[in-house]
Amino acid sequence: MYFIDPHIHIASRTTDDLEALARAGCVAVGEPAFWMGYDRTHVAGFYDYFRQLTEWEPRRAANYGLQHYAWVGLNAKEAENPTFAREVIAILPQFLAKPNVLGVGEIGLNKCTKNEAATLEMLIDLALRSDEQMLFHTPHLEHKYRGTRMILDMLHNHRQADPPRIWIDHCEEHTIRQVLDGGYWAGLTLYPTTKVTPERAVDMIEIYGPQRILVTSSADWGPSDPLAVTAFMAAMRRRGHSEAMIRQVVYDNPLRLMSQSRNFKFTPPA
């Protein structure tokens, strides 16, 4: 079965991973801008990173038959300094115009500080003014419950925000309900220790249904599995779920969300 991994950090993965993804049936990937494991000290660091996501990684992925899409934004871990954040946000519009960019992301909160929230407001404002889709990173571990609530409250205050064009990512058992109830897309990221395992992702599909749920590897430079989506598919099959339902989650749903971006020009496999 073909699948799409709409959240994977290709810049952190080897070409062997790209080949493995292609062999496993992956046809397209989405790569949101994120924290590369260290804080960048100059806006030029972000400029080069956004060029990598919009110029180099699409070419590298294409060598293995993978269609590559990106999201650009300022991640929450580097959002604490408002002056620096303003400089990074100022260069985003030129990258939002690149042909593989789907919207503003991943943006969000980390420790839920006032400065992070102020930066996030600027990013939401940019996305709404530009009519871009948004991809939100919700915080890790003990900060997730409060941070998710904060993000939903912020979005609630923006009347122009359109939930079906907003993806709230890294949902878990204690946050997914409020995200789906708000009409947003809920992302489940499959991590070995800190987020959701394939079996727990299947649980959430069984409880909430497959509508508006995205299952991704979010594979990056840390412990993570670029083929995690296939582990989820196997877990779904083990529990007796139909091929149609699996396809809805791993192919139709990402296609539906990504298709709402003006730059999404997907070529289905023949």
């Binding site: 058992e173 220790t193 395992t197 079996e199 727990r200 649980d203």
Partner: protein
């Protein structure tokens, strides 16, 4: 040989234990959702509850005691 510093071990084990507790909670939810209330009286569920009581108490030798919960009795 001296014992490792307890807080260092807690630091190292925290995320893994947190993850396994979540997995355990999700598995129990799954059993309840799929098998319904009938599963509650199954002997294996009773074993689970006995094991969880051992995890929650403040006594040592937890792994050994949990193993005994899942073991056939030995005739003396």
């Amino acid at each position: 040989m001296s014992n490792p510093v307890p807080l260092g071990t807690l630091e190292r084990e925290y995320l893994g234990v947190r993850c396994r507790l979540l997995e355990l909670a999700a598995a129990l939810d799954r059993i309840a959702r799929h098998d319904g209330p009938a599963a509650e009286d199954d002997a294996r569920m009773i074993q689970f509850r006995q094991a969880l009581e051992i995890l929650a108490d403040r006594e040592p030798r937890k792994a050994e005691r949990v193993q005994i919960v899942f073991s056939l009795p030995v005739e003396e």
